[in-house]
Amino acid sequence: MATLGGTRGPIVAGSLDLFVRNATGLVRSWAAFDAFIYSFFSINLVTLGWFEFTFGPGSAPGGNLLTAIVISGLLILAEVAVYAGLIAVMPRAGGDYVWQTRILGGGLGFVLAITGWVFTLWLWVPIYGEIFSTEFISPVCTILASITGNHTFVDWAINSLSHTGYMISSIVVSVFAAAVIAAGMKIYARVQKFCFVGGMIGLGVMIVMLLVNSHADFVNGFNHFNQKIFGVKGAYAATLQAAAKAGYTPVPFNKLALGGSFALIPIVIFFNLYPNWGATLYGEVRGANDFKRNLQSMALALIVTTALALITLILIAKVTTDTFYNDASQTYWAGTGSMPVWPYPGLLASFLTSNSILQLFLILSLSLWFWGWCGTVFLSSTRVIFAAAFDRVLPSWAATVNRGVPTNALLAMVIPGLALSILYSYNIWQFQTVILDAVLVIAVTFFGSAIVALVLPWRQKRLYDQSPIAKYKIAGIPMISICGAILMGFLGWNIWMWLYNSSYGVNNQTSLKFLASFYVIALVIYLVSRYVNNQRGVNLNTIHKEIPIE
């Protein structure tokens, strides 16, 4: 970008000239790397990926994790294109809520957005809590037990995975996430960058350890530390025997298992469906370059995460064998595992060394993936609450800010989140089986935006034609519509699978009642709001409707 002189500072961009005067808000584009980090953390390999990889194959035993990860990753690229496109057409608009209310109508838009960006995050609180227990408290205590020989740490490592352990972890998650919102993104962004660097170093160390050690090293280490810490003899062989006894025969990583792997995808997207999570925050899109930057940031995050998922799984299989890894996961969830704590890949890798400091470093550095990710559980939710309150669909007190803290919006997240944490942690009404509901509700919301993308060039023709993506067409059809259709197909298929196949735990009575309650509550809120506003002479339709020019 060259600069011409002049009192008003005109500048030149691109091959032709664009004369720009000094005016507020004329800034350079944000760094693509920053956007990449946010997206990268949203589809968090360590917290979401590794957690999901242990229960996925057990629920869809005919599938290969690697195949499912690759296929789902490729299809989710359509989602990346849809969201980058929607941001380019309606920048700074506020994401799904605004896109859907404007294109699909106020009622449908509100119901889809509030369920996917607010209600379902209540369920994510205990899921985050469970991940905190399994990937932080339990492995840290396990290593401390090994270092100190103090059996109290063993008790803590095991008890953190109990009902009360999950509940305490859910409370910690809620407090930490609320504190992040209260402190502001300014501080947390720095925390995230530190966590990104530290977490990547930890992952790098783990990869090196997996590369330089052999299968025999792992068997010896696993047996040694299980006996030392938990008093379990021959833990490796016992794990395989327990799985064999249960009749579990996992699909080897080197077998494509295409058909069976499709059945794994509705579980795999528990981890990789959200590269667009921070996309609506990326600021002003002024042209095609900004659109491409958004697209590339999200796509790169998805591609790098997919690659890292494959690399880590293959390397884990190298030292542990894929059979053992799947068996250890399956037997843990079945309660028949030889090792009494969750087979966290970081913990398994730590058994490859007898250096206590390295073990502790590995577990703590990998935990940075959690800390850099955990704080954002409420971030987007509070923004949607604000947007709905500004539209008068939610009462204005929902958007109240006290000393910079969105107190009421936070309470609207924390209180229901803790209530659901009780149900989830103590498995009341078999509530832990509804874990994939947390993804389903988000997928339904994204499905709404996929419809928006499909119809946008026709429903908002002027807006679309004047956007930087209007030139992108395939066989004369707008690219955003094609990607919208692909995404609709992908999400629609997943939703159908969740509702059709009982192995996902979504179509049981508890789950269906739970899901229905979300949508009914959202609809009731909208209808009551519409009635109240009508009584006050406010037509909610005019709030979203484009002003006609005569």
Binding site: A23, L26, W30, T542
Partner: protein
Amino acid sequence: MFRIFFATDVHGSDLCWKKFIAGAKFYEANALVLGGDMTGKAVIPMVRGARGETRVELMDQVHVLKDEAAVQAMETTIANKGYYPVRLDEDQLADLRQHPERIDALFTERVILRVREWLAYAETKLAGTSVRCYVCPGNDDAFAIDPLLKESERVCLGEGQVLAIEEQVSMISTGWANRTPWHTDRELDEPDLGAKIEAMATELPSTTGWVFNLHCPPHKSGLDDAPELDADMRPKYAGHILAAVGSTAVRAAIEKYQPQVSLHGHIHEGRGTSKIGRTICINPGSTYESGNLLGAVVDFKGAKLADHRLTSG
């Protein structure tokens, strides 16, 4: 009931101005208030080539336009986005490159032309109605537009004035802002901005409701959260980090005088409402470049604020 439709920061967007005027009927408003930054930020050259084609770069994309219809359609697109299309040949473009000071004159010429068009549009569309329209140039607006606004019969220039916009509602306005990194036309140090507001506020009649139409939002109100920039004027952390950049003088004035409502703009990302004491503060934000007019409807019953809500049209 007395209803105000407020919008701000249309930044030269033809479409947004037309929607603003149409907003009177659509939202059944008695008065239109535009909060500042009326004028655009860029001139887009449309360069005629040797073969009669016209090349134009918009949104990082080069368009080659074959005929007059396409050129006119592109001019409309550019104007709707808030920019100023200028037809040039290669020689004229080269001349501008060599004499950048002439760009200044070109900007002023185009800004004045569009403001004239807008005023004429408002005259036509609001004719026969009782709707009053108030505008107040913001920190990004050149002083050259003020005389045009003063001359208008239908559109009232609010800057520096105490106006009775309704029998029981008075409004003060200023488009001046605190200092920005861009050194724009109407910026003041905080004490001077405070004095400017104070001079108007002391003249407000105590028997009416008060509207503060101050372009710059109050400091730390949540309405002034803008992406924090690094030394290279790049948003930090992909725009996720926000900083309060509003005016402490505006905040102090609101805290002191407690108007029923204060209307703001300036920070396009700062869409929302906030409360300072008893005052409802509103920044509807701006997405002018997409032609979507963000606004706010404010209802008075007598001298009291009855209702308010943000709009997106």
